[in-house]
Symmetry: C2
């Protein structure tokens, strides 16, 4: 029972999660694509198994340690979608002897060093910068891409798998139209590279991932692999972008009420920056906030109050929620309030305790 | 050796840490005050023992679980400086049977509920809002304070210990002058309450903590207890406020270089929002950043580059550092770069792996 929760805990609505998983899976299957979901969002073996029950076989993670976590839980096909960390090469070789392992290169100059140290079979993805400018090969420099592929050639343990992109800039897009545009422009870049390099690499694939575009686009035609991850929970950022409805959000954080300040209509909860993270966004009135308040029902499901209420400030363990007078009257010290996070990935990384409905 | 580090790790300069500890201890002793350092910054048993070696006996923590962590490491006098969480009352009673435990009330209305459930001896601190408006009793409502003290009276396990304040607004202060003003105004409030309530509670104490004021003020006269914590490491926020020198900062985060983009003079490291946190501040050019780059020497000590370089962006695991052309030439994939964090408390909460020099 939810009543047993004493400290900040993620409350996961299993039905909503499974429904989000099926939604993304249906779209990928219909498009003849394959879902390789990103597990960095939930980082949970239990949630991972819900994907497996739906037939998912390959997954994406963002660190070597996360790859080990899921290898230990029986996953056999794991892509580390993060630029290869040469300092962890022993762990990577070790992992590659246990599972089908994918690794990523995202900039020129690393390939010769990688070529010299890989001792077990790995699939190599080249990350292409389709506009986020975080990292990735500049697609206009096909010469740099070719040099990289030439540099790894002597090492027969390294198989070039294909081109991947993460359109991280879709998270800053203002509306669904802009998100769809980011998708079509990015895919165009990948398909162009595919056309250029497929004569030499006839089996190369194109891999795409980020929840805003994958939620808003219905057809993944021509994309072999979809790597979105956030959609398993969704969050307020996705909702504000139009990538999901509030009702699709499958996770809230339960936070005990520890102080009430009716004079300024503020409630203090145990649940702060070390739980929600310091990721903020703007509420409809234009003020920054760190999450939206919901009320729990005894079975752990949550309801949205008629008037939206926001986490106005966070410090290390404190969250300060601004409420209406009527809401204040309903809330007592020791109650459990729910908070819909701004960015589910960061909150789930911080709070590892799950309460599953 | 620092060369063994493969993933994001805190590198702690023990000498600097111990020197910061001694500095704060000297000031409290000279003022006839007592240091009850806040351990939420480091959350490390090892660093905690450095305090114990200097004679510190009582500590402050911000959660019941942290209290247990340090109780298990032999600490016998622990204050949880966070509004009491009634949902954890069983754990609190259990802890109170093992150590001398302090708990905190920070708003009216909670005392009657607390009175009914405390079954072991605890010291009760009342948190006073001296201007941060996070939580705490409004000092102008002495009637609410008196009601609270009356409400707990029937429970003889609860001893009223005194008034505490955390001037969290000092973190937003622009200069040392403003920080000193926050200190003197806050202390004036606590001393006034002391004068009002000491006829009934002759042994009541006044407890104060926050690193900016405690670093900049030399005399803690009249304050019985100092609860600062951040000073053990210090960080860029403290440096920018004038509370420490860059050389006093005792912790950096080691981050492996995973990609280089010389065309836009950016280095990508394994070390992002789940390591540094999303706490940002402005660099001298007015742009937001998430940390300052330093170079490690083979023994793990760090040097500041002639031209300052900043972590411009972070995503979950990626950190993007903007560097000069000359710096770019020195940096190779697989190198370890150091990052001085914006807010040491959040970074240390996220990265629990310590490498101690």
């Amino acid at each position: 029972m939810i009543e047993k929760i004493t400290a900040p805990t993620l409350v996961v609505n299993q039905n909503k999660c499974r429904s989000n998983i099926r939604y993304m899976l249906r779209k990928t299957v219909k498009s003849n694509s394959r879902l390789r979901p990103h597990f960095k969002t939930h980082q949970s073996e239990v949630v991972g198994r819900w994907f497996r029950e739906e037939g998912v076989q390959g997954i994406t993670v963002s660190s070597v340690s996360m790859a080990w976590q899921f290898a230990h839980d029986g996953w056999k096909d794991i892509l580390i979608a993060f630029p290869v960390n040469l300092r962890e090469i022993d762990e990577i070789n070790h992992l590659a002897s246990r599972v089908k392992l994918g690794i990523t290169l995202s900039s020129p100059g690393v390939a010769p060093l990688l070529e010299a140290v890989i001792k077990k079979p790995v699939d190599l993805y080249l990350k292409i910068d389709v506009g986020s400018h975080r990292t990735g090969f500049d697609p206009s420099h096909t010469d740099w891409i070719r040099e990289t592929l030439d540099a790894i050639k002597p090492n027969t343990n390294i198989s070039f798998k294909g081109f991947m992109a993460h359109a991280g800039h879709s998270y800053q897009a203002k509306d669904p139209g802009e998100i769809r545009k980011i998708f079509s422009e990015g895919i165009q870049i990948l398909k162009l590279l595919e056309a250029i390099f497929s004569p030499d690499f006839p089996d190369l694939i194109v891999s795409w991932g980020d929840t805003p575009t994958c939620s808003l686009v219905d057809n993944f035609k021509g994309i072999h692999e979809i790597r979105a991850g956030n959609f398993v929970y969704y969050d307020l950022m996705q909702w504000q972008q139009g990538a999901c409805r509030l009702d699709d959000i499958a996770m809230t954080m339960a936070a005990p009420v520890v102080a009430l300040h009716p004079d300024r209509r503020e409630v203090v909860v145990y649940g702060g920056a070390v739980h929600l993270s310091k990721e903020s966004m703007l509420c409809p009135e234009g003020k920054p906030h760190y999450g939206m308040m919901v009320f729990y029902q005894p079975d752990g499901s949550w309801v949205f109050p008629e008037q939206q209420a926001w986490v106005r400030r966070v410090s290390q363990e404190h969250g300060i929620i601004g409420v209406t007078e009527a809401q204040m009257e309903k809330i007592k010290p020791g109650d459990l309030l729910g908070i819909v996070p701004v960015h589910a990935c960061l909150t789930a990384d911080l709070v590892r305790e799950l309460f599953i409905l």
